[in-house]
Amino acid sequence: MQTNDSTVRLQNISKKFGSVVAVEDFDIFIEPGQFVTLLGPSGCGKSTTLRILGGFIEPTEGEVFLGDDKVTKIPPNRRNVNMVFQDYALFPHMTVSENIAFGLEMKGQNKAQIKKRIDELLEFMQLDGFGDRKPDELSGGQRQRVALARALAPDPKVLLLDEPLGALDAKLRKQVQIELKTIQQQTGKTFVFVTHDQEEALTMSDRILVMNEGRLEQDGSPKDLYYHPETTFVAGFIGETNMLSCSVKKIDDDYVVLDWQGNELRGVCRSGTAKEGQDVSAAIRPESISCSAKKPGNKGVMKAKIIHRVFKGSFTSLSLEVDGVKDCILNATLAGALAEQLGDEEVWISLDPDYLSVLLR
């Protein structure tokens, strides 16, 4: 692990509030220039983790490192990280320029330097001409950009973002997601972003840390998390998924062979070693189920009945009842044209073994 000024390391962090455990044994290393997202439902400890990084909360156990410096007990005003707050926390009595200048003044920069930096940031954030406005004269999106400019102004090593898009409407949020990613790439800074919105996380992140009940569930790229979830929580939390109750039949060279109520399935187990006879869950995305009208030649095909079909424009969503399987309706999505070729009732399906995740229980 190469450290430089803008690497972040949380070493076995735990935080207890009284008897409530907010974060438990959290251990991560963040490389410089990455867009890292802490993703999880509310109360999963993601905001606490971010505030530990910012210096607002001291961990009960463990150490925080910025580069090679141990900063566990350093207060926020002496840490070289800045935060964009959920409600932006713009100072209402100051203009946009004064807000941006605040951090620079605290650093003791002179007037000319400050003026130059403000102009630079206003231009960078497409806020030219808004310098003399007060925060309450700005739209939500503009306020969000001012908050970002203010946090970037002192040139922090790491930028922390605490659900900064939550207050924006859905359409604007999509646009800001792309803007934010662009800004991160242009500045080359390490961004640590907190959100409960899985779509937001998938859109922007280089790396996602999924948290649940204070623990790290899975750490990986958006694609890893989506296609290869390692726990039932991750499989259920991100995107839509089919969850099948199976038992392990045998382990062959490449795949784990599963028995799903008499049907044979193959999948990959990444979270540990599956043992023969063990009860497991198998997760597969709706788009990893292929359907065809005629019986294909390959192995592992199952016959199913279409019990529901919903046309959604670019794709069609099918509800399938597999022969011999009780209490489980599979959800499959097909690109528009493919769905049209299917008959009304009978269909042959196969589950792509590379995208079938075997999850230990």
Partner: protein, 261 residues
């Protein structure tokens, strides 16, 4: 509501308004009476009492004395009250409620009781009755109002404002001076005007704690006993006008910053 009850309701309301304002109207009218004595009938009208009032050096001196007390009281109350509000603000601690109750107590203690106890207290501290004793008394009475207004305002300040200031490199003192204090200012202006008015208007504490030099209310009271001329009405009318204007603008200020956080 039927038409009749609505009519009855509005009649009661207007009767109340008249009952409220009639004494004031009479007082103001007497100030324009061209006679040495207060009372009906008024045969001729004049502005001369106003002229007498503005040129009365004794009254002007007493007015200045009252103003000095009011302004000093206000400054002291604002400083102590803001400090108390910060201590009793959003942060939670054991025994906060008891401290809060203690801080509010001076505002609800009957004036006469507080006046007597302050008089005894001042004497035991060797503070001679007079300006400083009155300022002390008024400040004790006014601090709770500043504290209450301050706490209300502080509770509406998002915690993240202070976090943001710290995050950007400010220490606690700078965060207070540059973020919290400006946030409090509209409320403090309102509370300050309120302090000035209560201090200016106070009779009981000023009477008990005062020395030979009377404050304006005490002076007016003494004139009442020695036989009052319409000059007093003129003075009262001027004070009425100023205080009403100040009071209304304070009320507006406080209401506006409630809407706009």
């Amino acid at each position: 509501m039927t038409r009749n009850t609505r009519l009855l309701m509005s009649m009661i309301f207007w009767a109340f308004i008249i009952y409220l304002f009639l004494p004031l109207i009479m007082m103001v009218m007497m100030g324009f009476k061209d006679s040495e004595f207060i009372g009906f009938p008024i045969r001729s009208w004049t502005f001369k009492w106003y002229q007498v009032a503005i040129n009365d050096m004794e009254v002007l001196g007493i007015f200045a004395y009252s103003m000095t007390i009011a302004i000093s009281t206000t400054i002291l109350s604002l400083i102590i009250g803001t400090w108390a509000a910060m201590a009793l603000g959003p942060t939670k601690f054991r025994g906060k409620f008891i401290l809060f109750a203690l801080a509010c107590l001076p505002a609800v203690i009957p004036g006469i009781i507080s006046a007597i106890s302050l008089r005894i207290y001042a004497q035991s501290l060797d503070i001679t009755p007079g300006m400083w004793a009155i300022i002390l008394g008024h400040t004790v009475h006014n601090v709770p109002f500043v504290t209450l207004v301050g706490i209300a305002r502080l509770n509406s300040q998002p915690e993240s404002h202070i976090d943001a200031a710290l995050d950007l490199g400010a220490d606690n003192v700078i965060a207070f001076m540059r973020i919290t204090l400006p946030f409090l200012v509209p409320s403090l202006i309102g509370a300050g005007i309120f302090c000035m008015l209560t201090s200016f208007d106070d009779f009981v504490r000023s009477f008990f704690l005062g020395g030979y030099e009377p404050t304006l209310p005490v002076y007016i009271f003494s004139q009442l006993r020695t036989g009052m001329s319409p000059e007093i009405n003129a003075i009262s009318a001027i004070i009425l006008l100023i205080t009403a204007a100040l009071g209304l603008s304070a009320e507006r200020l406080m209401r506006r910053n409630k809407k706009k956080v």
